[in-house]
Structures are given as C-alpha cells and as structure tokens.
C-alpha cells in the first residue's frame, strides 16, 4: 500500500539529499568544541566511515524499490518485531523532527527575534511545512534545487568575502588532540548529519529510479552536502582560528566578520536566511516522514487529517526534549550519536544481512 502516490525524479532526490545535509553544515559547534582546528579532518573521516553505509542504504532501496522502511521491517522481521521496530523508528523520526524544529526556533530567537517565544516560531514553521506535507512528496522536495543553489552561492560568496581574514596557520598543529576526540568527532559526523539519511528509506518508493540511478543520486547528493559541510568547517577554522570552539554558531560569527570596504559588511542576515531556509527544508522532510510513518504503521490510507496533529506533537515534544541548549549540546556530543547508531547503522545493516539470508524480497507470484 503506497499512501502518497506522488513521484519525484532521481535528480530531485539528489538535490533533496544535498539540501538535507547542507542544513547541518551551518551548525557545527557540536563538533568544533571537541576537535577544534582538526574538525575538518574529522568531517572527512566521518564521510569516509559513512560511505559503506551509504552504499548499504542504496542497496536496500534497490532491493526493496516498492517498499518503504516500515514495510521492509515488516517483511524482514515479521509482523510483530517489524511493528515494534517500526514504532521505534516512529520515535526516532519524531525526535529528529522535534530536535531540528527546536534548533530553528532557538537559532531565530538567539540571533534575530530575541523576545519572541520559541513555540511561536516553531508554530509558524509547522504551519507552513504542513501545507507542503499535505500536498505530498512532490511539493516537499520541489524547492530543494533552489535551496541548494542559493546555499552554495551564499556560502561561496561569504568565503570570498572573508578570504582576506583566512589564515592557513590556524589549521596547525594537526593531530595533537587525544585519539578519543577524533573517534568521538568522527562518530558524531557519521551519525548526526550523514547517518540521518536513513530517513530516505521512507521516501524511495516515491522516486522514479533504476538500481544504478538511486546509488548515483544518493552519492552525488551526499557529495554536495558533505562538501558544503567540509568547506564550511574549513572556512570557519581558517577565519576564527583558536576561537572557533568558543562560539555556539561559528558560521554566524564568520559572516559577521565580513568587512570589505565600508559598504559590504554585516552579512549575517544572509547566514540567517540560508540557515532558516535549509532547516525549514529539513524539518518539512522529517515532518513528512513522521506523518508517513504513522500512516504506514496504522495503515491509514490518507494522512491529511494527521498532519496538523503531528505538527502540534512536534512542537510540544520539542519543548520537553531538553531543558536548555547547553543540555542539548552535551547530549548531541555524548548520548545522541550512540542511540542514533542503532537506527542509522545497526538496524539497516542487520536488515540487509537478514534480507540476504532469507533471500528477500520474494518474487511476487504471477
């Protein structure tokens, strides 16, 4: 049973993946706090570590082209265990959506609208996202190429504008931190931005693709998003030097430092625009996935009446997740990567192995 009948092209999937990863490129403080001037190395390591799992993701999509994650779990683990795992994924998707919604509200509150309550901003975002979610995957992903291009242009422009403040010596010394920091950093990068791509297992039945195309789209989307994350980290370290770990949003400070003559300065509004734009995209996609997961789990044919209910749940859940941004940062560095590993790496790997052993999916009888 496919709930959303809309279909997108594999090229749109590429842009969607790129946009999804780019949104994490702007909030790198959780990493720079741990690995400081070596964060760029950790981003590379994280990408390399995640590559086999990206292949695994593409393979699962190609193996089960007509089934989304919930259906795959049902088929591989059976109706009982499959449903339990499905419910666990529902919690994962809802948590992911709420965390990102809270991030967006906290960022907007902390930088542009200091006195506006965070739930009010979350509510506005959910109301707009709900329009896209109701219309389905086509509208959810429609603007991803535009968002990706705007983000790339803005980031490239900002890099050129701060090139005069970029110092190569800020990257030195390298590999002087304890090995634990590199391991922790790599784990964070592999699970938090990259591993979250597991959400695409809920969307791939709506993508028109061949077995080869799906891996290509995933890989190129991953490459564009990963490169953005890497170049953003490089730029921030090169400009901010040993102060990079002091700031909660290093990229915002980098944009604030732009000063080319008396007229080109104070460009942080550009950063705010792209961050809000990209996070909005990520939230909308995750919101769609959460709604789709509920519908799939409870076999609801039309999810339209669920949209605002799930949106409200996301807002309230987001409010109760963390008591403060500091607790959230600590959790992102210590707890979240461990829990996320189960959903993003362990279960998909086990599913793949079991599917291979059980020779799934079984060919449908004529």
């Amino acid at each position: 049973m496919r709930i959303d009948k809309g279909q997108i092209s594999s090229r749109l999937l590429l842009f969607s993946v790129a946009c999804f990863l780019q949104s994490s490129a702007l909030l790198t403080a959780f990493l720079t706090e741990i690995t400081r001037q070596d964060s760029w190395i950790v981003v590379l390591l994280g990408a390399i570590v995640y590559l086999p799992f990206l292949w695994l993701l593409g393979t699962l999509m190609a193996m089960f082209p007509e089934q989304n994650l919930i259906q795959i779990l049902d088929e591989v683990y059976g109706p009982v265990l499959g449903k339990i795992l499905g419910l666990a994924y529902l919690w994962f998707f809802l948590t992911l959506s709420s965390v990102n919604l809270t991030d967006l509200a906290d960022f907007t509150k902390g930088t542009i609208m200091f006195r506006t309550p965070a739930p009010a901003m979350s509510a506005v975002c959910i109301l707009v996202s709900a329009i896209a979610v109701r219309k389905g995957i086509k509208l959810v992903t429609k603007f991803s190429p535009l968002f990706v291009i705007v983000a790339i242009v803005t980031m490239t422009l900002s890099t050129f504008l701060v090139i005069n403040q970029f110092k190569l010596e800020n990257f030195l010394p390298i590999f002087t931190l304890p090995a634990k920091s590199y391991f922790q950093g790599t784990h964070i990068i592999a699970t938090i931005p990259f591993g979250e791509m597991v959400v695409y297992l809920m969307i791939h039945p709506n993508v028109k693709f061949s077995r080869r195309e799906i891996r290509k789209s995933l890989f190129w989307g991953f490459a564009v998003g990963g490169l953005t994350l890497w170049s953003t980290t490089l730029r921030d370290i090169g400009v901010l030097g040993n102060t990079v770990d002091l700031f909660t949003v290093p990229s915002l400070i980098t944009f604030r430092l732009v000063q080319v003559g008396p007229s080109i300065s104070r460009t942080e509004i550009l950063f705010a625009i792209i961050l809000i734009m990209l996070l909005f995209y990520k939230i909308t996609l995750l919101y769609y996935v959460a709604v789709l997961t509920i519908s799939q789990l409870f076999k609801i044919r039309s999810y339209n009446h669920l949209v605002l209910v799930v949106g409200s749940l996301m807002i309230t859940y987001g409010l109760t997740l963390y008591p403060s941004p500091q607790k959230q940062a600590a959790s992102v560095q210590e707890t979240v990567p461990v829990i996320w590993t189960v959903f993003e790496i362990l279960i998909p790997t086990l599913t793949f192995i079991l599917a291979k052993i059980r020779k799934l999916p079984k060919a449908k009888e004529a």
């Binding site: 902390g110 930088t111 542009i112 609208m113 200091f114 006195r115 506006t116 309550p117 009010a120 506005v124 109301l127 010596e169 030195l172 010394p173 002087t176 901010l240 030097g241 040993n242 102060t243 002091l246 400070i253 604030r256 430092l257 000063q259 300065s265």
Partner: protein, 404 residues
Amino acid sequence: MIRKAVKMLNRQRLSLIATVLLASLLITLLSGCWDNRELDSLFIVTGIALDKAPDSDLITVTLQIGKTESKTGASSESGSQEDKNAIILKASGRTPLHGIKRLNFNSSRSLFYEHNQAVLFSSELAREGLKEYLDFFLRDYESRMEVPVFVTDGPTDRILAVDLEQEQSAGMYLARVIQDLSKLSPYYKVRMLDFLSRTREETVSALIPMVAAYDEEDLQKLQICGMAIFKDGKMLDSLNNYETLGYILAMGDVKLIGIEAQSEKGHVIFNTINLDTKRDVKLRQDGGVQVKLSVEGALGIGELKGFNGMDFPKVIPELTKMAEERIKEQIAETFEKAKSLEADIYAIGSEIHRKHPKKWEQMKSSWGSVFSNIDLTVDVKVEIPETGKSMISLEMEGASHEDR
C-alpha cells in the same frame, strides 16, 4: 451535475476566502510584535569604555550614545551627561553587564549595541587584567567580534566625552582612524576577536592600540599613541609609536608607511611601496631559539633634506644603506624591549607550537626565559624605485642652473 459543479466552486471559493483570512490573521498576529524595536526607542551605542571606579572595587562602564535627535530620554541627573554630539551614560558595577543593567534605571530607551564602533579599556584597569571583563563581549548576541579595541592613556570617560571637530563621536572617530591605519599595516587594527584569540594563547602577548586625549588651541583631540602590551590578559607595558613601527616592520605585510632616516649627509623620509618580512624560527640544540627576519621591499622617496653637493646616482646607494640600517635598528630596538619584558608580541611561541608541537610541550613552561634569550638576526634588502615627481633636490649637485 450543474448543482455539483456550483457546490464545488463554492467550496473552492470558501477555501480561498478562509486561506486569505487565515493569512491576514497570521500576518497581523505573528508579525514579530514581541521584537519590535523602533528607532525612537533606542539608544544606539557607538562606544563602550571600562575603567576602574574611583575608591572602590567596582568598574565604571561608560557608554557613548550616537544622537539621533536633539531631545533625548536620558536623565541628566543620575550618572549621565550630555555633550555636543553624543550622550554619555555612566554607571558603576561589578562587571560590564552589571553596570549596564544599572544604566537601564536612568535611561528611557533600550540600549542597542549592534553599531558599537569601539571598546575602550583604561590602562589602570588593563594593568589589573581584562580577562574577567571579556565574557560579556563574547556572550552578548549584539556585541560584535570585529569591533576594534583600545587602551586609553588616562580615564576612559574623558576619551569618549571628547568633542571632536572631525567626527560626530569619539567611537566613530577611533573606528575610522584604526581603519585607515589598517590600510598601512593590518597589525595596527586589533579586533575583539584578535584580542580574545591572543589572550587564549597562554604564552603569546597581545597588543592593543593606545589612545590619548589632548587639547590643542581650545580644541579637543584624540591620537593613537602606541600599543599596550598584554601578558595573560594583564597590561605589562606599552610601545610608543616609534617602537610600534618596529613591531609592524617585523611582522611584515606593510603597505604604506613613512620611515624616517638620518645620517651626517642628510635627512630622508621614505614611503614604503611594499615591504614584507619572512620569519624563520629555528630550535637550537641547546634548547634556545634562533629567529631570522628577512625584510624585503621597495621604498619611494617622500622627502629629502641635505645631501649637499652629491649627485643623484651617488645618493641612491647612500639612501638604500640608510633605509636598511634604519629598518634593522628599529626592528631590533622593539625586539629588545619585548625580550626585556619576556613578552612574545610576535607570536613566535605559537609558531613553534604549530610546527613542533611535541618540543613545544617541553618549552612551554619556560617560554618567558627562552624568549628573552632569543638570538635575532635581521636581514634587510630594499630597493628605491620611486623618487616622486623630482629626481634631485635643490640642495643636490646639478640642481642649480649655474651647475649646468
């Protein structure tokens, strides 16, 4: 069938009306009223100064407010005073924010820091240490990291209250002066971010431009009078403008500065066309450090005096020698002062840390004494390709018609 179509149309129309109404409602209710900040309700801060409060452990926070209109909501009784071009608000507190919060009690407008042009610390406060006062600037969302910092020679409130002819406020004046100086050499400008960065490196000494106020023919003026030397967040001493130039030359990337040289034959002022310094830091076997500075550049003649009777081809080698000696001497003098203070203003320790992190761990604890024993070699090579509009001066051979 027709009835059904009409019903559908009505439903679509109703849906459109509902959407428009909802959108209007949202625009009205969620238009950011919580964060509305109108210009007439703001005090735009153009300068922040911290000083030691007289006869107490507190600090004095002085804010300079750019005037947006003639009448303002500031009370003139409790700690605020109006001057010609800007308003000065002053309060004491345990920390910068504590002082600022107190200011809210005698001001009818909210303070807006996004356009702050300069942060000033008094030399008295700087000598006691600034680390504990930087947190506010680091944490506050409106406080900008690119704002230039200064140390004042004398009370800070006097500097901010100076009524300048050239600019509306002292904060703006200082920001422009330092912007102009940064075109000569980037090392003149020290932003809050640079100060924080250097303060975080335990063994590196930060430098901050110093500013002093003086009176000249009934006019109040401000001038940059050197650079304050910091070690571990505390001001140790200062460099005068001459010594500062020695530091600037040692750091390189010099764009356009004047270098003055004198010999028995005459006096000359050179304008640098470009001048760069390459630094080679070597660790010696005995645990010491050897630093070689190679200065290379092109100079133009700005002004000549003397060199009587000499013809131009002979003057150029003489001038080259004078320039090279002068640059060498100036760099060495400042270096000696830094060595005597054990203040690594050149960030040589950072360079060793970056290039030899393992050896640095062994040297770090005794860096002060290692730095004070650095073996410095300065190698200067300059050319003088520009002479200005004239090749000769009136005192030189061939200048007079009778010589021809």
